[in-house]
């Protein structure tokens, strides 16, 4: 199981603004380990799914070029106080993480 996702969300008028931080090494496979001289194997998040009360509101597909400890933000309509927001990711090794918050 991956590390928990840090989620910050607020509702402005009708629009929910969501910011998420996912602790993850995001190894592209191009970096060389200074000690062994060997390339560090690819290890990166491929898919991030964001759900509002169970409905998918945003899906992010990523390649190796997303920075270490990825940060993303997105917006969607129709959220209100008390609604649930779930964000989950899956990486290329089959590891995953899921976190949930409720809108204030």
């Amino acid at each position: 199981m991956g590390k928990p996702i840090k989620i910050r969300a607020k509702i402005k008028g009708d629009i929910a603004e969501v910011k998420a931080l996912m602790p993850h090494p995001m190894e592209s496979g191009a970096r060389i380990d200074a000690d062994t001289g060997e390339p560090v194997p690819k290890h990166y998040i491929q898919e991030v799914i964001c759900k509002h009360n169970g409905n998918i509101v945003n899906t992010a597909y990523w390649g190796t070029a997303v920075s270490k400890n990825p940060y993303m933000s997105f917006k969607f309509k129709g959220a209100k106080s008390g609604d649930k927001l779930e964000i989950s990711w899956k990486d290329n090794t089959g590891d995953s993480s899921v976190s949930e918050i409720a809108f204030k």
């Binding site: 509101v57 899906t59 992010a60 997303v66």
Partner: protein
């Protein structure tokens, strides 16, 4: 004999169901596009049809990135019926960095931080109403963010 025919009919129905899914709905990560090592490969795998430069696609990215390992990108658009937003770094070993699939609830305004190996043009591609629109910007990288 009868069993074979049943299997065949079932197979045909499955194929029809797969084909009926709208093209823009990826439903799964487009792995080939993410593995493509040229921008042409990415675009060919991901999209069909011409891409129009549009001032309705707002790409916010620094002109000079001091650290190529962390380059903040924001893409938003005033276009309606947005289906997806993609970020392509033309000179990266695999140019497709990220693809965000929108939903009917989405407000098309996303941010993400990306790695850039060297100075490059960065292109934001928005698919809206079945058409493709883009905006590009040259970004100068002083320290690359791909290798060690």
């Amino acid at each position: 004999m009868k069993l074979q025919r049943r299997a065949l009919i079932k197979g045909l129905f499955t194929a029809a169901a797969v084909l009926a899914v709208p093209r823009w709905l990826f439903a799964a990560r487009p792995d080939a596009a993410f593995d493509a090592d040229s921008a042409e490969g990415v675009l060919g795998d991901l999209f069909d049809g011409p891409i129009t430069e549009s001032d309705q696609v707002m790409l916010k990215i620094p002109d000079i990135a001091e650290n190529g390992a962390v380059v903040p990108v924001t893409v938003s658009t005033g276009l309606a019926d947005v289906e997806s937003i993609s970020v392509v770094v033309l000179n990266n070993p695999t140019p497709l960095a990220a693809l965000f699939e929108m939903s009917p609830q989405s407000v098309p305004d996303i941010s993400v931080r990306i790695k850039m190996g060297e100075s490059s043009a960065v292109q934001a591609i928005v698919k809206a109403g079945g058409k493709l629109y883009s905006s590009s910007k040259e970004v100068k990288v002083t320290i690359g963010g791909c290798g060690g």
